[in-house]
C-alpha cells in the first residue's frame, strides 16, 4: 500500500493538481496561477464575512422575491 502512495506523491504537483494534464506552456500557466491567486485573496476576504448558512440558492431566492405580478 505504501509503495502505491509513494508513486502518486512523486508526481509533480501540477500533473495531479490544478490544470493537471493540460498542455499549457509554463509562461501561461504561471500567469493563470497568478490571476487565480489574486482572485483567491478576494474569496478569502468574502468568506470571512459570510455566515455559515449562506447558500448558493440564496441568489435565486432574492431574485424570486423581487418578482412582482
Amino acid at each position: 500500500m505504501a509503495a502505491s502512495g509513494n508513486t502518486t506523491a512523486a508526481a509533480p504537483q501540477d500533473e495531479k493538481g490544478a490544470g493537471g494534464g493540460l498542455d499549457i506552456p509554463e509562461e501561461r500557466r504561471a500567469l493563470a496561477k497568478a490571476h487565480a491567486a489574486l482572485l483567491a485573496e478576494t474569496a478569502a476576504r468574502i468568506a470571512v464575512e459570510l455566515p455559515m448558512s449562506a447558500d448558493v440558492d440564496d441568489f435565486r431566492r432574492v431574485l424570486a422575491a423581487e418578482a412582482k405580478p
Partner: protein
C-alpha cells in the same frame, strides 16, 4: 418605395400585415443589405436566403388568406450562431462544435418562429461567445459598420453589425459578461440584457450557465419590447427560467417615466475615460430633461464585484470546456484557449464562496444602491471605441488585463443578475458608444419605457459606411 432599412420590426410587421409590402420584398431587401453588410463587416456565418424566401412566400400566402397573425409574421431576422436549430449544427464561432445536428430548435428560436419571424442567416460571434471585442481568431475578426478599423464589440458581434447597418431590425444574442451590451454600444444601437432567469437558455450554447442570459439587439427600443414579449417566461426545458409573470412589454412602453430616479455612482463612473464620463453625464442630462430625477447612489465595492464574477465565470466556463480542452486544445483560437485555461486554477472553495455570496451581494445592492435610485446609469465601454489593432492581443500575457478593461463596467452586473438596457449616446458625427441603464430584477419593462422615451430625443441611426475615415479622428 418604403425605406425598409429604417423601419422597426414592429412597423415592418404592420406593413406586411396590411399588405403595403410583401414579406418576399422585405426578405429580398434584407438579404441584399445583409450581404453588403457582410462585405464591410464579416457579419455572416451562413446565409439562408432560399429557405427564408420560401418562408416569406408562405407568410404572404397566409396573410392574403387572412391567417399568419403572429406579431412578427413575415419579418426577416438573423441571429448569433449559437442557438440550436432542428437538423443543423450551429458554428458557435468555433472550429469545435456539436457533433450532431440539433434535434429541436432552441426555445428562443422556436418562440420567434411561433411569432412568425423568418431567419435569413446565422451571424458572427466571438469564438464560443467568449470574448468582448469581436475578435475571432478562427472565423476572422468582425469589423464595425461605422468604421471597419474599429471593433464591433462582442460576443454578439455579427448581430450588432447587421442591426446597425439596417439589414435586420433586431436579432438575438447572449450576455455572460457584456456580450449584448458591448456590441450594442460599439455599433451605436440598443440591447436588452435580461434578468438572469427571465428568458430560457434551452438550446443555446452554454458559456458559463450561472451567468448566461439571452436577449436582443435592435435599433428601436420598441423592438426590444416586442422581442422580449415573445421570449420571456418559464420553460420546462430550462429549470433556471423562473416562473415570473410576463408583462405586456409593448404596452408598458407608454408607462410614465417622469419622477423616476436615475442614480449615478460617481466613484465608479470616474474609473472610465473622461470622454466616456462626459457621455454618461450627457445621457443623464437627457433623461432629466424627460422628467427623471438625477440622484447620487453607491454601488457596493465594484472591484470586489469584478473579482466575484470572475470567480464564478472562469471555472464555470472551464468546466463547460473541460473535455474539449483536454482532447482538442489545438482546435481553439489562442485567446479563448488562454482564457479557458485560467479557470482550472481557481479553487473549488473560492468558486463556491463567490456563488454562496451572490444572494448577499444582490440583496445589499437592492438595499443600498436601489434605495436611492430606480435605475442606475453606467458606462458600457470604459473607453472611446477602440480599434481592432489595439486590442489584438491574442492569447498573450496582456489578455487578462486588456479584456478586463473592456468588460470593466459590464461583467459585475452579470454577477448580480440584473437587467440592463444599452442605449446609444448622441453621436454628433463621431464614433458610436453607449451607456447602460441597470434596473431591479425583472424591471425590464421600466427600463424599456425609459429607453423608448429617450429615443424621442435621440432617434435610432443606421450606420453609414460612406462616413468611414471621416469620423472619430
Amino acid at each position: 418605395m418604403t425605406d425598409l432599412a429604417g423601419l422597426s420590426a414592429r412597423a415592418l410587421a404592420e406593413a406586411i400585415r396590411a399588405r403595403k409590402i410583401s414579406s418576399v420584398e422585405a426578405t429580398r431587401e434584407a438579404v441584399k443589405r445583409l450581404i453588403a453588410c457582410h462585405e464591410l463587416t464579416g457579419c455572416i456565418v451562413s446565409l439562408e436566403a432560399d429557405a427564408a424566401l420560401d418562408g416569406a412566400r408562405a407568410a404572404d400566402t397566409a396573410i392574403a388568406a387572412g391567417g399568419a397573425a403572429g406579431p412578427l409574421a413575415g419579418v426577416p431576422l438573423a441571429h448569433k450562431d449559437m442557438f440550436d436549430r432542428e437538423g443543423r449544427i450551429a458554428s458557435w464561432g468555433a472550429n469545435i462544435r456539436a457533433d450532431r445536428p440539433a434535434a429541436r430548435d432552441a426555445s428562443v428560436i422556436a418562440a420567434l418562429a411561433e411569432a412568425g419571424a423568418l431567419q435569413i442567416a446565422a451571424l458572427h460571434l466571438t469564438e464560443f461567445a467568449y470574448g468582448p471585442t469581436g475578435h475571432n481568431y478562427v472565423l476572422g475578426h468582425a469589423r464595425n459598420p461605422w468604421d471597419p478599423a474599429r471593433i464591433t464589440g462582442g460576443s454578439s458581434s455579427g448581430t450588432a453589425a447587421a442591426v446597425a447597418y439596417g439589414a435586420i431590425p433586431f436579432g438575438l444574442g447572449s450576455d455572460t459578461g457584456g456580450s449584448l451590451r458591448l456590441p450594442a454600444a460599439c455599433c451605436g444601437i440598443a440591447s436588452i440584457k435580461t434578468t438572469w432567469g427571465r428568458v430560457s437558455r434551452a438550446g443555446a450554447m452554454p458559456l458559463a450557465p450561472a451567468l448566461d442570459t439571452i436577449g436582443a439587439l435592435a435599433r428601436h427600443v420598441e423592438d426590444l419590447a416586442l422581442a422580449l414579449g415573445c421570449l420571456a417566461g418559464p420553460d420546462p426545458r430550462d429549470p433556471a427560467a423562473l416562473p415570473v409573470p410576463v408583462p405586456d412589454y409593448v404596452a408598458r412602453l407608454a408607462d410614465p417615466v417622469r419622477g423616476l430616479r436615475v442614480g449615478i455612482d460617481e466613484k465608479v463612473v470616474s474609473e472610465a475615460h473622461p470622454e466616456v464620463q462626459r457621455m454618461v453625464d450627457e445621457v443623464a442630462g437627457i433623461l432629466t430633461g424627460l422628467g427623471l430625477e438625477r440622484r447620487a447612489c453607491a454601488i457596493p465595492d465594484w472591484q470586489t464585484l469584478d473579482h466575484l464574477v470572475q470567480l464564478v465565470q472562469l471555472p464555470d466556463a472551464s468546466a463547460a470546456h473541460a473535455a474539449f480542452l483536454r482532447t482538442r486544445p489545438q482546435d481553439y483560437g489562442p485567446q479563448v484557449r488562454a482564457r479557458v485555461e485560467v479557470g482550472h486554477f481557481v479553487g473549488a472553495v473560492d468558486h463556491l464562496t463567490a456563488l454562496r455570496a451572490r444572494g448577499t451581494w444582490l440583496q445589499r445592492t437592492l438595499d443600498v444602491t436601489f434605495r436611492d435610485a430606480d435605475i442606475v446609469i453606467l458606462p458600457v465601454l470604459a473607453d472611446p471605441l477602440p480599434s481592432i489593432a489595439e486590442l489584438d492581443v491574442g492569447g498573450g500575457p496582456k489578455v487578462q488585463a486588456a479584456m478586463g478593461r473592456v468588460v470593466k463596467f459590464t461583467r459585475p452586473i452579470n454577477y448580480l443578475g440584473l437587467p440592463a438596457l444599452t442605449l446609444p449616446v448622441p453621436r454628433k458625427g463621431g464614433l458610436p458608444n453607449g451607456v447602460q441603464l441597470v434596473g431591479r430584477p425583472f424591471a425590464e419593462a421600466q427600463l424599456l419605457a425609459v429607453g423608448h422615451a429617450y429615443q424621442r430625443e435621440v432617434p435610432p441611426e443606421i450606420a453609414k459606411p460612406s462616413m468611414q475615415g471621416e469620423i472619430g479622428r
